[in-house]
Amino acid sequence: MSMKHLLPAALALTGAAIAIPAHAGKTLDAVKARGQLVCGVNTSGPGFSAADSQGKWTGLDVDFCRAVAAAVLSDASKVKFVPLNSQQRFASLQAGEIDVLSRNSTWTLTRDASLGVVFTGINYFDGQGFMVPKKLKIDSAKKMNGATVCVQAGTTSEKNVADYFGAHNMKYKSVVFDTAEAITSAFFSGRCQVYTTDMSDLAGARTKAPKPDDYVILPEVISKEPLGPSVRRGDDEWFQIVRWAGFAMLEAEENGLTQANVDQQKSGSKDPGVQRLLGVTEDTGKLLGLDKEWAYRIVKQVGNYGESFERNLGPKTPIGLPRGVNNLWTKGGLMYAPPIR
């Protein structure tokens, strides 16, 4: 067995075998003492988390880690990114190797209730789709009967595709690889007619094709994939911090606060909502075990949710995803943060 496969097992074993009782509030203290947030991210998910040639991480999930670091450690750069494949991710969080898992993971009942982890929110509403070569002239997922489908091991996609083909009485052959790189290489070489995963991943993978225009993403979305960060169970205070760091990014966008104008708004805005969020009037941070300016720092150092989206996934990036359902509720989307007050 290769090291790669042993790692999740080893993590699970050590995590389970060494007696570390789950004390509430410990994670915040540990992060502060360490002076660094350890954040589990995708090994290679363009737009969500990817390292460039200089080793600098970018992506929507990466920005989320930075937002938590900005709130907790006052410095968005104090994050250690741990790239994890889909099999390692939850074992790594369970074992305490990482503080937050921000790795485009789907929030499901089974994961929330039986893995010893809790999802803190949703930072991207996704759905599973299909990509096919244009030359096959398939315009609908219902015309894929008998196709060979490339799919990544250990994802919700494996189950969804079985359900979808079963429900439509179609047959397929699956070829399962354990990394996104292996799948894209097999798919682009023609081993499979269909590549299935979350729509956002398909858009990212398409940019890596030798000729992106030779491939088309089918319109059907066959599942709900609410992607979000998660934390270990049993530390409610840490859970609240991570959850509200996400909400603060949404609240900032709703209030029109951006990286560029946040300083000016902090001193000049008369809006009580803005003043409260930026810690001018009330100290919302105290309730979370943080300081007054926690949300201000998130906006100043990382930006609001919309800025992060446009920077990493939006129409101006190679991935070029429309905002769609990930727009604010005020603009017809699903992104809605409870009030920060």
């Binding site: 290769s2 091991a153 699956s174 690889f177």
Partner: protein
């Protein structure tokens, strides 16, 4: 432990000292066993308590839940609504299939290359050496990826598959071969021919030959089985591979993943086996060669009848560990998408999150497979070493 001998040895004091020594040894071993047992129990209880404290689900109940995912290669029927237990059985059957095929091919290649290296012909021996050095000295994962890449990049798409007279089709879908239409009937014919032909050949050969009748029986049996299988195809018609929509249907198929893994494992292991064969042959005292040649045997006869049987004795114990390595290395399947036990287990861990239980299952399966190999190989070893000298 010393074995009790029938007649008392030594004086009473000596025997008393012996008894005391044995008692001390037993007590020490017993104490050690108890400590190990206590450690194991403590470890297991600690794991259970920690899983409980972290609210992580545990236990093996999940094995009866529906697995919910599909598997690309099946030796028996399986659908996504079948249980995890059945999914693991599929994974294990795929592991066994590639391991068995790999052991056969690696042994054949290993013996051939090993004998090539020993050849007095410089080109043959040089080729053998090059083969061994290349396949033994590069990482298996890289070899697998390279073979898989070659298969998927170079072969044509299903629509323009390389056809060998409609008997076989080679494409990115893998290798499809025409097989007799009624598979069970053909299999029955082949099995019958194997038993009858093999037994008949063995009985006849036994009259003429001192040794090697078994080998001849086996060879004739396999040949008879092949002929019977082909005749069954002629009698009842063939199932030929042909393009059907996206895919090739009909015939029997070997996927590119299976082909790449099978070839990769066989080539890699055969290089080590070749070295074992060479070492075994060279370890036979040179006097045996001289004696055989002095008797008037040709070099090939001396090798086949005198040297090789003796070399076999030296080769079998290390050969067993090569076979075990091959079985364990088959777990690299996941890098090229072959659904072996580890690949299925990885998927299961992700669907239900019960890493600990699934890893225990993987370890138990590999341990039992290798114990079976150990038992078979030591039986063969015992037989070979008992052979008349």
């Amino acid at each position: 432990m010393s074995r009790a001998s029938p007649a008392p040895i030594g004086d009473a004091a000596w025997r008393a000292r012996q008894r005391a020594r044995r008692l001390r040894e037993w007590a020490l071993q017993g104490a050690l066993a108890l400590v190990l047992l206590a450690l194991a129990i403590g470890f297991a209880r600690n794991i259970a308590a920690n899983l409980e404290a972290r609210q992580i689900k545990s236990g093996f109940d999940f094995l009866h839940d529906p697995a919910g995912f599909n598997i690309g290669e099946l030796l028996f029927e399986y659908t996504s609504s079948d249980s995890y237990l059945r999914a693991f059985a599929v994974g294990m059957s795929n592991t066994l299939r590639v391991a068995l095929a790999g052991i056969v091919l690696a042994s054949v290649l290993g013996v051939v290359v090993g004998l090539m290296r020993l050849s007095r012909h410089p080109l043959l021996s040089w080729l053998g050496a090059a083969y061994v050095e290349i396949y033994r000295n590069t990482p298996l994962v890289i070899q697998l990826l390279a073979i898989y890449l070659l298969v998927t990049e170079l072969l044509p798409e299903a629509a323009s598959a390389i056809s060998i007279d409609g008997i076989a089709l080679l494409s990115k879908e893998g290798l499809q071969i025409a097989v007799p239409q009624s598979g069970l009937f053909a299999l029955g014919c082949a099995l019958g021919a194997l038993v009858i032909g093999g037994a008949a050949a063995w009985l006849i050969a036994r009259r003429w030959l001192e040794v090697g009748a078994g080998l001849i029986g086996a060879a004739v049996g396999v040949l008879a089985a092949l002929i019977a299988w082909l005749l069954a195809g002629v009698a009842r018609g063939w199932s030929q591979p042909a393009l059907d929509g996206f895919l090739i249907s009909g015939g029997a198929s070997l996927t590119p993943e299976f082909l790449a893994l099978w070839l990769g494992l066989s080539l890699f292991t055969s290089a080590s086996i070749a070295e074992l064969v060479r070492a075994g042959v060279q370890a036979v005292p040179v006097g045996q060669w001289h004696a055989a040649l002095a008797l008037g045997l040709r070099r090939s006869q001396a090798m086949g009848g005198v040297i090789f049987p003796q070399a076999l004795r030296l080769t079998i114990p290390p050969l067993a560990s090569q076979y075990m390595n091959l079985i364990k290395n088959s777990s690299l399947a996941v890098v090229i998408g072959y659904p072996d036990l580890v690949s299925i287990a990885n998927t299961s861990i992700n669907q239900n999150g019960q890493a600990l239980e699934v890893i225990v299952i993987i370890m138990a399966v590999y341990l039992s497979l290798n114990l079976v190999v150990a038992v078979i190989m030591s039986a063969i070893n015992a037989r070979v070493t008992r052979a008349p000298r």
